[in-house]
Amino acid sequence: MIFQILLIAFAFFALAITTKQYRRRKVSLYWYILWTLLWLAVIIVALLPQATDPLAQLVGVERGADLLVYIAIVVLAYGLYRVLVRLEKVQKEITEVVRKVAIDKVQEPKKDE
């Protein structure tokens, strides 16, 4: 019971933050809708945990809560992979910029030496 309340409270908190960020144009409408749907889903599942059981049994998992944990792990792992790939790309882009600046600002040796 306590966990349900905490989870719902956190979901509302997250919703508020996302809305605030969207109003300040820090996140795009696309991500705002996606995040909002996610947190609304979290609230619904927290209120009615049994609601996901039929879906779970359909795919051969006993409890809805278990199914959610499995899905969460897969989604998080994939998200982490995407972030790491993106990070690597950003690192390479930084190096490219640093390289360009270095080449443009070369100090050539004095000719009389």
Partner: protein, 225 residues
């Protein structure tokens, strides 16, 4: 034949000038890439007569080597690129015989080797790490060498164009060997003389750095973008 030495340097203000002067006795131009040192490396390099380039952020030795190579290929029209070190461990007088090897045979790359003729004076832990690196290189890149991570290299212009280093940090040494294999470049080894001092050993790669290199390489196989 126009020769250009590339010297990546990070916090080497006390040694970089000597390295530049040593190298410039044997090559036409010296390019120093200061990898965002917090000491006077850049000024020392410039006043000792090198082309001085500066990374505004620290990007690692591999990145610095590639910056110097890109600069040289773009502006200095070199026939031969020499990878040299800023810390005075490498000896400039090894350069001519390596260049001779390159010009008198049909190889594209000459790799310096510390083990080709006997074994240099170095700590046992370093020796073991380097031997493991040789086995690692044979397994991963399929290249059999007597010394896999010397860092002293001579590249022909066409080889330098094809070997584009993307591993910014220390894994670039293994990456270069990989690229030699992938591009089917001809290579040979040449014995070089490396002087170890307590000072340079303290600053150079620790043997534990090998773990980082392996980690970097594994990462590059999975996260290549």
């Amino acid at each position: 034949m126009k020769t250009v030495a590339i010297i990546p340097a990070y916090n080497e203000e006390s040694r970089v000038a000597d390295a530049v002067r040593d190298a410039s006795c044997f090559v036409d131009h010296v390019v120093v890439v200061d990898d965002c040192s917090y000491d006077q490396t850049f000024d020392e390099a410039y006043s000792s007569g090198a082309y001085a380039l500066r990374h505004v952020l620290n990007r690692g030795q591999g990145a610095a080597l590639q910056t110097g190579t890109s600069f040289a290929l773009k502006n200095l029209n070199p026939d031969v690129i020499v990878h040299f070190d800023a810390d005075g461990q490498m000896q400039g007088r090894d350069i001519p015989k390596m260049i001779d090897l390159l010009s008198n045979s049909d190889v594209d790359v000459v790799l310096g080797s510390r083990f080709l003729h006997g074994c240099p004076d170095m700590p046992l832990s370093r020796k073991i790490t380097l031997k493991l690196a040789i086995i690692f290189t044979l397994v991963v890149s399929g290249i059999k060498l007597s010394d896999a991570h010397c860092g002293f290299r001579i590249l022909s212009k066409s080889a330098a164009k094809r070997i584009c280093i993307t591993r910014d940090r220390m894994a670039h040494a293994s990456e270069i060997l990989d690229l030699i294999k992938v591009n089917r470049l001809k290579y040979t080894e040449c014995p070089v003389d490396i002087k170890y001092s307590d000072e340079t050993l303290a600053k150079g790669q620790s043997s534990l750095g090998a773990i980082t290199i392996v980690k970097d390489l594994i990462k590059s196989k999975f996260f290549d973008v």
